[in-house]
């Protein structure tokens, strides 16, 4: 093939690829990179700025260091780690059960997991507040029946973790299910025939093969937990402040858009770092079955 023909062919396939991906690039540019650039620009504006194009300053980052914002970052990070760990422990056996039960039972279990997603998160959390609070369904019901109750079970960190685990459960469960679909039944049987016990099958076959799904689920839950807001607000009732609450306060009552933007940039860096390291471990082609 002469070189001119080859160039034309490469260019033709390249241009058709560019053409097909153009809508996505435009969408990402406008909907993702545009706002991201705006947030970064605002984060280096002085307090009181409502334009992103003033003289840049790092004063917002200095204030963040000086005003104990590490506490909010710390709580968000800790809550994300704890809730992701608990979700892993809960969702793995649940995913196994869903995989093994086929037919109607699996459909019912899936429906039970998915159904809460049709109700707004805030409403579901308010429902738990009414359930756990003093004089609520649990305390009031027990008092009514037995003359004693546990009092308020909200307004503490465990109740926030409970809320996060409850809300983010589907985001862990379904990626693990996807990962477990990479574990062929005949591989397990072969291992059994060769004398492997259940623990060894779990450790050496199931976990490695399902790992992409587990990592995706963990990553997803970790990142959205980092930005968790409602759980601390409704169930925590101010016992701690998450970084998302600080960002909201800066943008609303604080009317300090640059401060809010600087906090958001730091949160993005934190989440981005987690994504970067996790993605190095994931082979997306394998997860999606394209290789």
């Amino acid at each position: 093939m002469d070189s001119r023909k080859l160039t034309t062919r490469v260019w033709s396939s390249l241009s058709s690829g560019l053409l097909c991906s153009a809508p996505l690039f435009v969408l990402l540019g406008l909907g993702f990179f545009g706002p991201l650039a705006l947030v970064i620009l605002y984060s280096v504006q002085p307090r009181g700025s409502f334009s992103p194009f003033g003289t840049p300053t790092l004063e917002n980052y200095r204030d963040i260091i000086e005003q104990a914002f590490y506490l909010s970052f710390g709580w968000s990070l800790l809550l994300a780690i704890i809730s992701t760990t608990i979700l892993l422990i809960i969702c793995y056996p649940l995913a196994l059960a869903l995989k093994r039960y086929s037919g109607a039972m699996a459909d019912i279990l899936t429906l039970l997991v998915v159904a809460p997603l049709f109700v707004a998160e805030n409403i579901r959390l308010q429902g738990w507040v009414l359930f756990f609070d003093k004089g609520g369904f649990l305390d009031g019901g027990l008092n009514h029946l037995f003359g004693f109750g546990p009092g308020s079970l909200v307004n503490n960190v465990p109740s926030i973790v409970f809320g996060m685990v409850y809300v983010y459960l589907p985001f862990m469960l379904f990626p693990i299910l996807l990962g477990l679909s990479n574990v062929p039944a005949d591989v397990r049987e072969a291992a059994l025939d060769l004398g492997a016990n259940k623990w060894r099958i779990f450790r050496d076959i199931e976990i490695p093969l399902a790992m992409p799904g587990i990592l995706i689920g963990s990553l997803l839950c970790f990142v959205i937990s980092l930005g968790a807001f409602s759980e601390a607000k409704f169930l925590g009732k101010g016992v701690i402040v998450t970084i998302a609450q600080d960002i909201e306060s800066a943008f609303t009552f604080g009317q300090n858009w640059p401060r809010g933007s600087a906090l958001a940039v730091l949160l993005i860096i934190l989440a981005g770092t987690a994504v970067f390291f996790a993605m190095r471990k994931i082979d997306l082609n394998k997860v999606l079955g394209t290789r």
Binding site: R47, G48, F50, D63, Q67, A68, F69, L71, S72, V129, D133, K134, G135, G136, F137, D139, G140, G141, N143, H144, G149, S152, N155, K233, F234, K237, G238, V239, I240, V241, D246, S249, A250, T252, F253, G254, Q255, N256
Partner: protein, 423 residues
């Protein structure tokens, strides 16, 4: 009526018993001149003006959409539906999240979107009008409507006029005293009123909640620290504020911006009261029969608020909402019509009594045509008292809401106090 606040195990509040518990407060309030509702040139004028306004609208060729940016009450069906029905307008309401956010919304180009803006007083006179974000009203048209108002809100009213006094910047309607809200079965109203904010912050440490409307927490923390928030503060005062705001958060049992949840917490005894709190914090619970929940304002205020007419000073802060016309480059007469409509006795009553989750007094309750629409329970919900004397006594202990020039620095301290409260 189903009582949404009542817990599962306790019995319904005996209205008479709680009324008796208020006797001391109401007794003290009897020193305040009662509101004598007038019958009723102002209301007649309002109704007549509304009819004329509708007639003028019907012939006009103008935009039939009205965009309202307002606090709750002005954004709900009980108020908006009759207006839409009578004018044929499509009303697009958006509720405020805070006064400063709304001001910056207008600064950021919101004048092209909004036709009507409803904010607490001071913003209009000090920022919105000087910055050209709102337009003046026809003074001659609106002045007779002040005949409807309760005492203290007569023409000319400071917060609706510009600095020169020549331009009318909006209408006034809802108002309310703000200080603290308590469950008087758990903590004595008399004790709190005499002991002041310290009675809650120190005396009820670990037993009160913070109603987390951030700017209001800051304002009342200043009052608790012994000075008003509405002027520039010295370094010593800023230090005193910082100590106070940290203590307020450290001593609080919980923090929430959900006033209904806090009312429920007060009823169940989870907390004895909340800081800060206004009539709007207590009114929905009171309207359900939980009349032990009440707004209280300390009797003695900071030194700088003491005057010959108020030798004990004023410890609370009164908010007054002002509704204005946005300087929209494509205005619609519907905006001005909406302000007229709000003065009709029926609409004024709906603004005060029919917004979801809260009831608030309106200045038009000085008109008998408006006042007579309120039921006895609704009046008790807003702590009206005999002839308005209870509410009047609370208002009398308040300074007017204004703009805090040190808000930015104080907000930084507020957020730091909130973050570190558990550490």
């Amino acid at each position: 009526m189903t009582n949404v606040y009542r817990n599962f195990s306790s019995s319904r509040r005996d209205f008479i018993r709680s009324t008796a518990s208020l006797a001391a407060t109401v007794g003290a309030a009897s020193m305040i001149p009662a509101v004598s509702a007038r019958a009723d040139s102002g209301a007649d004028y309002a109704n007549d003006l509304w009819e004329r306004t509708k007639a003028e609208l019907s012939g006009g060729n103008h935009r039939m959409e009205l965009n309202i940016h307002a606090w709750e009450g002005y954004t709900e069906e009980p108020v908006l539906d009759p207006f839409s029905r009578q004018t044929g307008a499509k009303v697009n309401p958006q509720m405020l999240i805070s006064d400063p956010a709304a001001v910056n919304n207008l600064r950021g180009g919101g004048t092209k979107t909004w036709d009507v803006i409803n904010l607490n007083n001071a913003w209009q006179r000090k920022m919105l009008y000087p910055e050209g974000l709102i337009t003046p009203l026809d003074k001659d048209k609106y002045q007779p409507l002040y005949e409807m108002n309760v005492p203290g809100f007569e023409w000319p009213y400071h917060w609706t006029l510009d600095v020169s006094g020549n331009h009318l910047l909006g209408i006034i309607q809802r108002y309310g005293p703000s200080a603290m809200v308590i469950n008087s079965d758990l903590i004595s109203a008399d004790t709190v009123e005499k002991g002041g904010y310290a009675e809650m912050i120190d005396g009820a440490a670990g037993k009160y909640a913070i109603l987390d409307y951030e700017n209001w927490v800051i304002m009342h923390a200043c009052m608790a620290a012994g000075f008003t928030p509405f002027r520039t503060h010295s370094d010593a005062e800023m230090a005193a504020y910082k100590d106070m705001i940290f203590k307020i958060f450290k001593n609080a049992k919980k923090v929430s911006d959900d006033q209904a949840a806090l009312a429920r917490d007060m009823i169940t005894g989870e907390v004895v009261g909340c800081f800060p709190g206004s009539v709007y914090t207590a009114s929905a619970a009171r309207n359900e029969g939980e009349t032990q929940i009440m707004n209280v304002v300390p009797i003695e205020g900071p030194e700088e608020t003491k005057t010959a007419s108020h030798p004990n000073g004023r410890a609370g802060i009164i908010w007054i909402e002002v509704t204005s016309l946005v300087a929209n480059p494509s205005p619609t007469p519907l905006a001005d019509a909406f302000l007229v409509y709000c003065h009709t006795p029926e609409a004024a009553y709906r603004v005060g009594a029919k917004s979801p989750g809260t009831l608030n007094p309106v200045v038009q309750m000085g008109s008998n045509d408006c006042l007579s629409k309120w039921s006895k329970d609704e009046l008790d919900a807003i702590q009206w008292g005999e002839g308005g004397s209870w509410l009047g006594s609370l208002v009398d202990r308040c300074i007017d809401f204004d703009i805090n020039p040190d808000y930015d620095a104080m907000h930084d301290m507020y957020t730091e106090a909130k973050r570190t409260r558990g550490s």
